[in-house]
Symmetry: C2
Subunit: 496 residues, 2 copies
């Protein structure tokens, strides 16, 4: 606890206007809640401390379980990819070569071939898929790996949001037909809903990206964007329809039942585990620090015995211990805080870290036969009893998640606006509506120049069209930039 | 499944004399059971396929839970370590520099400083420990990370046993006193027992290594060795008493309660997750393939409906489905095999992959109101009922684990022999006793020349003394090499 425990003794406390000063809030909370440490001596590489890593592992597990429910199996590929693989898909190598770290030496010897630290693993997986896929009976192939990837970023890095090494999952699926691959994109969206929306209370918009913003090597890119408190979108998950682009480059073919030889159709899927944590922190947090839903809170319940200096009432400790035992037995992650700090300092310490529930146990509670339950997000206190405590807390956890989700959804719809011309867009963005829907000519390459003009004028990006239920522009509406007939309603926002 | 499914149709089957031809057995089973693929085009780097990766994840989880029960918290450090950190502990850099892969470029730019792909992470962790440790209240610090590490091996690689990138856990602990660090070594041994012995049925010998075989930078190295079927030892876990060697190199100091400044005492601990899987495969497997204990079997129960060509008895499918539902509901990992293969081909397929239990459901079972349970290790069939099936299988899983453990223990004691002179040692090793106890002069550096002579004569290594209950040589006994007074009973064996 170190420095922050000292802060908790009263010298300085965390209280920052999250919405008004989001950047300060974010930069302070990731450090002061001991989520990460960016004093590691390689630029853009950070250390994930236990409070972040425990949550990251819980997010990983939730996502891995969703992937496995949907028929994926785990694999692990080498971290290094030889240059010869990397250059096989022409567009892909163009897109990534500016960001690759190269391993060139083993001890003092130069390696026979340069090895890329994987920026993403299509070119590692698919040469093996070419060996593993023979017949239609081998399909679909649905494998994922949990790992870190490396990007020699030239943009400024930001903890959890942009770094030179970051934790993610990548799923690589191969199908007999394009139709099945297209169905997988929908399934990928559903998995994002199962994890982000249902378990973490994080709403998102799911887009088909414009052609100029797709993954290099893909036919189409789809992505889930979370809205951050500063009105910028955070791409937390992306999925790519690859068609047979990589299948042709890597010769991944199968024999149909009738004996014909066909290329597979592929998708790949990348939940950004640290970006999900960044969204979770930013969206649910408040001016006093983190607010973690129970699914990913490293500690779900902290129990604080309140003993006066003179008053070492053994019943207080007994009741605290009983509550801890019951909750642990029921599978809760519980901390019974017996350190020498004052109760106030302990409250502060665990509130800033976002522990969803606190049980306060003092003389009043012992004599009254109850415990005082404090809920982090509402800051409301209620009385609860030892009897049925785990059930009560499970229910309270569900309630809290529902409230956090509702609040986040309200915020998202509050920041969503519309405009029918460029001046209207500028105005809406200035009024701090983060996301503005506008009629737009085309999300094919033909529309890139218009998107470029929007970027120059507002700093915001054309993030794409809603998928799968794309909204259609009303008849006769025109692109807000070029005044051609509008082909789409696109969403415009700044982005991380 | 591809090629092997074809093999399963009867063209060729796996049957290899495990003990008589262990090397062939091992090299074939890791490929034919689709555990790994070593056709990846970078030497010494392999792909972990789903059947291995699922088990590796279960071993990881078991070990992480043990570490957390013993007070460790998860962290994640960068994969890259700058050269300046790496050279801080003189002995450490000497030990590892011949094995380091170097990252030298980001895109086309040369990096300011070379970055090592971590061969192990002491020099990454401890610079941060120097920032995190201030006072005795910050101690002990007990953090672990699950990751892969990289060694530019010059020795021949072998899947799961020796590779250029391999999955492991590393725990790094810092204490106020040497005594606490020494206690941690005992706790590290206990964790190995909890996971390897109790959950996986793998016995091991726990050694203090001779000084010439310690981790570079450590005061002492301790390790758990498993006995492989070819009589060679496989170091599956190691733990290192670091004393204050690294604390001095990285200036990790704390203020005592009285305000004095002291160096911390440290240990580090490395369960080799893929080496544990290699031991598990090799020790429990038999001539027909893998035998997996239920704790780490990707599929614990496979259900095979036996339908004649003409006889599409719907009750068979119904009973199979009911059994699957009940077992899944109780938390079992279940496969209901409805593929078009023959029952015999399915038996073969899942037996080779080591699935611990099979339920056979045919017309006989339906009319008799029972299911036939086949246990992989004993190959014995018994009748079981739908009622109470999960409880029955849990019990059968415990029985199987107990039997596997007992068999492995018997093998270990069978291969353990003694000798009182060099000729006796040679004779015992020739009689295929894998491990021979002998009186030996010294496991300090003074004994290295004698160990070298043993190596030259027999190819075997002095693996160390049993820890913590070291056996004492009988009075008057002499070192089998130099004839000086014996200071220790050491264990001699070949090693992976």
């Amino acid at each position: 606890m170190g420095e922050d425990a000292k802060a908790a003794t009263g010298k300085e406390t965390f209280h920052v206007d999250k919405v008004g000063s989001f950047s300060e809030w974010y930069n302070r909370i990731v450090r002061e809640a001991e989520l990460i440490d960016d004093r590691y001596n390689v630029k853009g590489f950070i250390v994930y401390r236990p409070w972040a890593m425990t949550s990251l592992k819980l997010i990983y597990r939730a996502y891995e379980e969703a992937l496995e429910r949907h028929g994926h199996l785990p694999v692990l590929f080498p971290t290094v990819i030889p240059e010869e693989n990397f250059v096989k898909e022409a567009e892909h190598v163009e897109g990534f070569k500016a960001e690759v770290f190269w391993v060139t030496h083993g001890a003092d010897e130069k390696l026979e071939k340069r090895l890329a630290l994987r920026p993403t693993s299509e070119t590692a997986f698919y040469q093996m898929y070419a060996l593993w896929v023979r017949s239609y009976t081998d399909l679909p192939l649905k494998f994922y790996q949990s790992c870190t990837v490396f990007r020699h970023e030239t943009k400024a890095t930001k903890p959890l949001l942009r770094g030179r090494e970051f934790p993610w999952i990548e799923a690589h699926d191969a199908f007999a037909t394009n139709k099945e691959a297209q169905k997988q994109v929908i399934e990928d969206k559903e998995m994002a809903e199962e994890v982000l929306h249902r378990q973490l209370g994080l709403p998102f918009l799911f887009f088909r990206r414009p052609q100029w913003d797709k993954f290099k090597g893909a036919v189409d890119t789809y992505a889930a964007d979370s809205l951050m408190p500063d009105g910028k979108l955070n791409q937390v998950v992306s999925t790519h329809m690859l068609g047979d682009n990589f299948a042709r480059a890597f010769e991944i073919m199968y024999a149909t039942r009738e004996g014909a030889r066909r290329y597979v159709s592929q998708t790949c899927y990348g939940p950004g585990i640290s970006r999900i944590l960044a969204a979770l922190i930013s969206i649910h947090g408040d001016d006093d620090g983190l607010v973690l839903p129970i699914a990913v809170a490293p500690i779900q319940v902290v129990i604080i015995p309140i003993r006066g200096k003179e008053d070492e009432n053994p019943s207080i400790l007994q009741l605290s211990q009983d509550a801890a035992d019951r909750l642990r037995q029921a599978g809760f992650r519980v901390e019974l805080d017996l350190t020498e700090e004052t109760p106030g300092a302990k409250y502060y310490f665990w509130e800033m870290r976002g522990v969803p529930f606190r049980l306060e146990v003092g003389a009043k509670e012992v004599s009254g036969g109850y415990l005082t339950l404090f809920r982090r997000d509402t800051r409301r206190r209620t009385r609860v009893h030892l009897e049925g405590l785990p059930e009560h807390l499970s229910e309270a956890g569900r309630e809290m998640l529902k409230d956090l989700r509702r609040k986040a959804e309200q915020q998202l719809s509050f920041e969503l606006a519309e405009a029918s011309n460029l001046e209207g867009l500028v105005l809406q963005l200035a009024r701090s509506h983060g996301i503005v829907k506008v009629p737009f000519c085309s999300i094919e390459m033909a529309g890139e120049a218009c998107a470029q003009k929007i970027r120059e004028r507002t700093g915001a990006e054309v993030r794409g069209v809603i998928f799968p239920e794309e909204e259609k522009p009303s008849p006769g509406s025109r692109c807000i930039v070029c005044d051609r007939a509008a082909g789409h309603i696109v969403y415009v926002a700044e982005a991380y």
